[in-house]
């Protein structure tokens, strides 16, 4: 069991900066998910923590000890790879026992650990099989088993579910969550799928272009994104973003103008001045119902996606902004028709011209 802390971690290949100035503290037993678009540096950050890449600058501590110079094996970590990386010529049992053989663990102990891990992961019947005789889900479990037997302080997962089909992915996701509860170990998980991030994490780290954009609990990020990037990345379907302008500022509220309508929002104006360009963010689920303080926005329907319990109505407003409305499942709407979205007075996010939320940290 160990906490992990990163101070000013940077990584560059020649002049290409992959990671810049990463500061992050991960508490013992936390489930932290690094999420971001591909190429944002999340996997590199994970590999740096594992010791497979060297940080160009900064300090990395695991369990309070500086580990920058340590090889992976001494960091008490175990990593599960996206490709599973099972040794193809070894049986399931040998795959799991292979690393222990060199850690001076006695034979009986190795056997006990492997069998326990196999039991946890329901692999007991498959111990003599070769990886090629296993299904994708089983291979994934062997890869996790190989991590468990090492009894590491920190588990590292590099997009472990991306090679599985949809149904199996949901299942394995639940199993990983259960595993985390049972083992209580620190887990760091990399994914580009924000649904995995939301469902698994006790803390999400949103990354973009080698930088951390925001760190927080899933719902905290969902309700209180720090900037446009996080607002757009967390939540599915993504948050609607509508261009607007500040009409007037008075004390604790700001009046915004957009699409020919005006609304007053209770936010600390901060540096906002009358005339500033802003972006207004609204979640699709907040735009379906008319209410006392809502503003009706007319538009033409581009597409309707029916999921059963809800329908996503994709529409174009008169201003040209595209918005998605999460409407009731049986809503009457068809492409080409007219539809009315309702902009609430509450639950609005206001971002200044630099893309920063003006509400954040209020």
């Amino acid at each position: 069991m160990a906490d992990v802390s990163l101070h000013g971690i940077a990584k560059s290949y020649g002049v290409t900066e992959i990671l810049r100035d990463i500061d992050l503290t991960i508490d013992d037993g936390e489930f932290v998910v690094f999420v971001g678009p591909s190429g944002c540096g999340k996997s590199t950050l994970l590999r740096t923590i594992a010791g497979l890449e060297n940080a160009s600058a900064g300090e990395l501590r695991i369990g309070g000890k500086r580990v920058n110079e340590m090889p992976p094996a001494e960091r008490k970590i175990a990593m599960v790879f996206q490709s599973y990386a099972l040794y193809p010529h070894m049986s399931v049992y040998k795959n799991m026992a292979f690393g222990l053989k060199f850690a001076k663990t006695n034979k009986a102990d190795v056997d006990r650990r492997v069998r326990r891990a196999a039991e946890i992961l329901k692999l007991s019947a498959l111990l003599d099989r070769k990886p090629r005789e296993l299904s994708g889900g089983q291979r994934q479990r062997v890869a996790i088993g190989r991590a468990i037997v090492r009894e590491p302080s920190v588990f590292l997962f590099d997009e472990p579910l991306s090679n599985l089909d949809a149904a199996l992915r949901v299942n394995t996701r639940l199993e990983i969550a259960k595993l985390h509860r049972e083992l209580g170990a620190t887990m760091i998980y990399v994914t580009h799928d924000q649904v995995e991030a939301m469902t698994l994490a006790s803390k999400i780290v949103v990354m973009n272009q080698g930088r951390i954009e925001q760190v927080g609990a899933p719902l905290e990020l969902y309700h209180n994104p720090r900037n446009l990037f996080v607002a757009g990345f967390i939540g599915s379907p993504r948050m609607n973003l509508i261009k607007g302008q500040v009409r007037s500022v008075s004390g604790g509220s700001v009046t915004l103008a957009f699409t020919g309508a005006e609304t007053s929002v209770d936010v600390v104006p901060g540096t906002l001045r009358a005339g500033d360009e802003v972006t207004i963010g609204v979640r699709p689920e907040h735009m379906a119902d008319a209410g006392a303080n809502t503003i009706a926005l007319e538009g033409r329907i581009d597409a309707v996606e029916r999921l059963g319990e809800a329908s996503y109505v994709y529409m174009k407003l008169a201003s040209g902004d595209d918005v998605i409305v999460r409407s009731p499942g049986d809503v009457e709407a068809a492409p080409g028709g007219r539809y009315t979205a309702h902009l609430p007075g509450r639950a609005l996010h206001v971002f200044n011209a630099a893309g920063q939320s003006v509400q954040f940290g209020k």
Binding site: P72, A73, F81, Y84, A85, Y87, P88, H89, G136
Partner: protein, 277 residues
Amino acid sequence: MRPNIRPGRIAVHIALVLYTILAIGPIALILINAFKTRRAIFSDPLGFPDARTFTTIGFDQVFTKSDFGLYFVNSLTVTVVSLGLIILIGAMAAWALTEYRFRGNTIIALYMAIGIMVPIRLGSVSILRMMVELNLVNTLTALVLVYVAQGLPLAILILGEFIQQIPRDLRDAARCDGVSEYRIFASIILPLITPAIATVAVFTMVPIWNDLWFPLILAPGDGKQTVTLGVQQFIGQYVTDWNAVLASLTLAIAPILVLYLLFSRYLVRGLTAGAVK
């Protein structure tokens, strides 16, 4: 009931059959004529031996007039030891050159590539001089050294190519497991490149076994001849004992055939199946 066969396929098969006949022909010719009388060899070279023409006189000659057993052991020793060294050193060098980035990496790789392009026989004179200096003339060691040098460049090229195809994650996983670099090489890389090793073995083994040039100039002395050199004594300026020549060639084909069958089992196997998706 057969599905109709496309003419293209027939053409391909005809070509393959013709090539097979061309490749097997000389060997078959050696085999059938080794068991015939001298008269039959010349009057009917393509005929099979029958009751009238069958003889094993060639084999008797080989075993009584020459030290065939010794030549055979010499050939086998030189081939097996060279092969072992080429594979071991070649695999390690290929692993180092593909896996680790170090100063001079590219230069060494290029230097090895030159070895493929320049025939080692061009250096025969210097090699002979060097062996004289080293007091290695008329030893099997001299032959082994030359053959290792001759086989290494191609071995490194082929093995390096295969090692590169082993997924990076496998080595990273082993490193996370705390496996040492030597262990990774021995327990993960080597088992996974057995098909490549078999390929290299077949490609290097045949030229070594068949070589006449280096045995002739480096180890022609008594007791150190290889089979190919030993056969030469039956080929005279005026008279050639064809029975003996063909018999010893027949005997020389056997071990190479066995080794080939042994390695060829691995040639087609794809061992990485199931490693990663």
